[in-house]
Symmetry: C2
């Protein structure tokens, strides 16, 4: 590659999104790329010409290792969606103008569905206008809902966090209950896809019975059935643990979190705040049955907990970044690196490259046949699928008792 490159991160961060950044960076270094630019706050920052020279921050191998151990988006993220090309050519021209100004030959975007759409639009525009610049997608999402790829970098680490933390709070919950059972509702991210909530099943093993029920957003939530099942469990058990997706909905389409006072709340952007279904259910059980309940929400902890990230996930995240850079160097554009799993046990993984048009804006749900027991659990097939993704650890570099991170700006005061 003769020109420079630019790389950006977009959407909700993950525990390993910086491993993919480290992968792109390392491949570019190995290829002798002169300038490796980073977009500060994704394509939105790029449009403001807010670029950083990555080499000023990632100076040596130790920095690469620190970057791999740093949660959230090192370069900052955004939720900007490229407008449709027709009537918005100016925005697209601006992207290419900045690329030309900085002699940028390839643009890499690490993200989920929306980010892959950005890669699709930009590569389509290049084709339309006969531009030589190339655009590559690097998959990233804890939601695990990108199609074609076996799974998405970021998912394994979030799943490992969920399984680990759930095991710990299941132990906590089971220490009481000498007279009456304690009901623990754990709320897990995933508005449309239940991949993250399904990871609650990974807490099961020789030393943990795991959650009693698991509710995914792919299945309709039946409140009466739920309450009846909780009643039965509470009569038989000293500890009842239920994992629920933030996105569970009742038959009329309303979210469960809309059914209680706790979340009659619309945020500043007019979005209903999708949190609190755990609280709604815990309060309902307490009121109906007079039981002690507690709701725990993993919130952003589940996507930021790099200290307990999956080594397999970190390595795969690095590899998709590395391979995206190599593919662009080979002349590829408008594509995303995918992960192929040839064998699950023993785990054997490979990588391919796929047309971005088949990926952008497509969401992949948990297969219906993996949702069992009238929508209250997931099958062993899910566990076989997900187990290898959470294996291994990469110990954090601990300084003064906490993990050290590589940061672009320590201060968040605006200049």
């Amino acid at each position: 590659m003769k020109g420079n490159i630019v790389v950006g991160q977009s959407g909700g961060p993950t525990a390993v999104i910086n491993s993919s950044l480290a992968g792109v960076f390392s491949a570019a270094k190995a290829l002798g790329v002169k300038k490796i630019y980073g977009m500060h706050h994704g394509i939105q920052g790029f449009l403001n010409e807010d670029l950083v020279d990555m080499s000023e921050y990632v100076k040596d191998d130790k920095d690469v290792e620190l970057l791999k151990r740093t949660p959230s988006a090192f370069l900052g993220s955004c939720r900007y969606k490229m407008p449709k090309i027709e009537g918005n050519e100016a925005v697209y021209d601006k992207v290419f103008e900045i690329m030309e100004k900085y002699d940028i030959e390839c643009l890499f975007y690490i993200g989920g569905n929306d980010s892959m759409d950005t890669i699709k639009m930009l590569s389509d525009y290049a084709a339309l206008k006969g531009k030589p610049q190339r655009f590559m997608g690097v998959p990233k999402t804890i939601d695990n809902d990108l199609p074609i790829t076996d799974h998405c970098p970021g998912y394994g680490s979030a799943a490992k966090y969920i399984a680990t933390s759930l095991k710990e709070i299941i132990r906590d919950n089971s220490s009481f209950g000498i007279e009456k059972p304690t009901i623990l509702i754990v709320e897990i991210m995933g508005r449309h896809a239940g991949w993250l909530t399904a990871a609650a099943a990974l807490s099961r093993g020789e030393d943990c019975e795991g959650p009693d029920m698991i509710y995914l957003p792919e299945a309709v939530f039946d409140m009466d059935d739920f309450m009846a099942r909780v009643k039965k469990l509470s009569e038989e058990k000293s500890s009842v643990v239920i994992a629920v997706s933030e996105g569970i909905k009742i038959a009329d389409g309303r979210f469960v979190c809309e059914l209680g006072n706790a979340s009659d709340y619309v945020d500043a952007f007019g979005h209903k705040q999708l949190s609190g279904c755990g609280v709604v259910l815990a309060n309902k059980i307490a009121e109906a049955y007079g039981l002690k309940t507690r709701a725990v929400e993993f919130s952003t902890l589940q996507r930021a907990a790099t200290h307990i990230a999956s080594l397999q996930d970190i390595n795969e995240a690095f590899n998709v970044g590395y391979l995206a850079c190599q593919a662009a160097n080979d002349g590829k554009t408008g594509m995303m690196i995918t992960i192929d799993v040839k064998e699950r046990d023993p785990y054997q993984v490979g990588y391919s490259i796929y047309d971005i048009h088949a990926i952008a804006n497509v969401e992949r749900a948990v297969p219906a046949e993996w949702i069992i027991n009238d929508g209250t659990d997931v099958s062993d097939e899910y566990v076989k699928y997900a187990r290898p993704l959470i294996l291994g650890e990469l110990n954090p570099l601990m300084v003064n008792g906490t993990p050290q991170h590589l940061v672009l700006n320590k201060s968040t005061y605006r200049k």
Copy 2:
């Protein structure tokens, strides 16, 4: 010691309460104690003669190591408080009757303020009736509010979890905010004492600016002042992070969590549910200023996260258990092991033994002089105090991608 011993765990679990159990067990083994009984669910279970033979579960050194890495109370916990002696002699006689039946010479209770009261009452009753049995307290509480001892086992690990997780979600929060700042409110345990919330300050370092404000329950919470400070911060910063104790109160004595719809909720025992002040504040800010807000509650995660426990804390927890057993063997009764810190940097620790009467039912708050900036932060003196308590890690034994635990009963189905 010629007779047997019994050990129990009580109150809210911690990440290292089982290290103290391992300490008592190991000392008793070394002293050649024949039977080491465990109370299933504390003194409440003991009164039902619900005892386990610890040696059936802790069979070798590997089991001791696993026990140290297991969160929550291995033996189960309870919240039972011994009644006053006068008029309730039957309850006390029952305890001694069971002790005699099982030839139990010494009783150890691992717990906080209420548990130390149990030790006081039982040793008082023994003195009153001229009974030979001995009673020893082993300190444990994430709240860190026991007097006399420099700090309490369990606190260091909870503080390490808080500092580590806060660093991670501060990174997460700071990745957005390109247009408007994101306001993150983190709610931390501690109804009366602010020790845990103060630990938010330990997230600060070369790579993290830490929270912008820290609110402890020891200081009166001024809502107008809070809102004005948030407004100013949101004008200057792209990310605003505030740590609040669940127990913060406004001047008229009401908890902040009582001020919103989210928590107008009294639990089955008639207790106001003390959670949700983070949600109340986040909603208030969103409504007043139209800013994007998020509330994260560490909930029981902060007391159960043995996977990131402090090695210093694990070792001290083990030692106070071990020394309590040795002291009882030396004839001591009605006392608790305390931790003495001779130097903080480099950290130098020792142990003493203290009359339980000076400890039971006394709560120690964060010193007023450590609460600074009009009640919105803690001083460097706090950081100097707490830093050595969070140092070091004891890696979990990972099996299938999650930490392995030693469990008494995997199933929580009632027999």
